[in-house]
Symmetry: C2
Amino acid sequence: MPAAEVVKSVARVLEVLELFAQRREPLTGMEVCRTLGYPKSSANAILKSLVTLGYLSLNPENLRYFPSLRVTYLGDWVPDLLLGTVETDEMLEELHRLTGETVTLSMRNEFHMQFIRVLPGSFPISLRVSEGFMAPLFGTAVGAAYLSTLSDADIRGLYERAQKRGALEGQEQNLDAVLADVAAARMDGCARGYERILPDTGAVTAPLKAGAHDQHLVVGVGGLSARIRRSEGKIVRHLKRVIRQHLENSRHAA
Amino acid sequence: MPAAEVVKSVARVLEVLELFAQRREPLTGMEVCRTLGYPKSSANAILKSLVTLGYLSLNPENLRYFPSLRVTYLGDWVPDLLLGTVETDEMLEELHRLTGETVTLSMRNEFHMQFIRVLPGSFPISLRVSEGFMAPLFGTAVGAAYLSTLSDADIRGLYERAQKRGALEGQEQNLDAVLADVAAARMDGCARGYERILPDTGAVTAPLKAGAHDQHLVVGVGGLSARIRRSEGKIVRHLKRVIRQHLENSRHAA
DNA sequence: GGGCAGGGTTCATATATGTGAAATTATATT
DNA sequence: AATATAATTTCACATATATGAACCCTGCCC
């Protein structure tokens, strides 16, 4: 099994739990089966395993499954460590209200920026990107915002490691361009990117230091390139003010 | 693969996430490997899959993994639906303070009562039961408390279905004894059980109606039989008062 | 610079899982 | 009570995964 390939049952466990998180109601085995496109006996094997392990409960009267609180306990501790007292949901909602654009929160994951929260834009033409999406670390606005928190030496080291691992294949950006983006981001704390990996798309992003680790998150506002360019100044001001405000709020809460 | 057997990778996904929930710090692949006793390439395959799917992040500088917020989102919605505004943690902590015994919260899962929260007792001799433990639905105090919320006809139906499914094998209790326990529980809202499936162990339990579904949870206080018998009256009073109080609090919060 | 320790990767093979067709079971309707 | 429909289970076989030995990589220490 080559790198980045995924063990089938691993993916399925998470797909099943994601389905319940999306639907938020008890589901029959057949509903899970049809929705996720699994063969019946495969769906059953996964569901039975999750029940046996206590992650799903089964009501035998109506044959409906539902997650148990053990699913909650797997991850309820993560926000405290990753975010500390920063209320990221409120921050993103405020940015969304102020800009109307797609607002995102991402974190570094190996040589990617992983979108962990996405609030879709209100405009008819809006950036559509899903939670879980992995953008490249090098050559994107979210990546530049993240990298602006590191020294040039650390960025070079990261870039070399990524090259060695073959993680940059298919991505046509060189280190000098990356460092130029980062230098621009350091000037006022915000990174900009237009027409990068997503066509017609622009984004303004800024790092957010949160939580118990020295890893940074990145807040982004993205949408149609022309519209983002027009509003860039306003978006930058909103981004900086909202981040500063919420960091102050989280200091008071800590 | 017979019923109740578990797909290996399914179990491993959850074991890995449980390990992170327990340790609450970044871990290397080898630490996961050693702690969980997996072969190195198997551990790697699971971890790489979780990174690819966005559930773990990997810091390539120190080769340490950590859960992402996607783990949180899988289950952060469950308490609202399952518990509503009942603050179960506070309730259990109060009971724990008042009694010093092992305090548990359980939910029905198929033909079991699954322990979803356990606060271990403060006495040197205390009931030791782990979260995730599946107690039988029939013939236990937690089961009797749960069943007391159903009609006798529904209990009979459930019992028959359990028999048909072979879910009662290894458990020597008949329906009449179960119904007697349930009748006793209905008298004052609390079930008692001594020397049932766990030796030297007694428990007092009560149902807790919470959340958006008509499924009940069960709160229990358990420990050394003799000590639970001695304090039964007090435990019953504490249980009823604390549950009533928290239900009132949750009504005000709703 | 070399050696060592700790970590990860590769690969051939054994074992487990996934699949789909068929059979069985359960429920609802007539 | 019979029938139809929907759901679950079984099973033989195809495919995927797990394993452990061997190898490779990286960083640290002498």
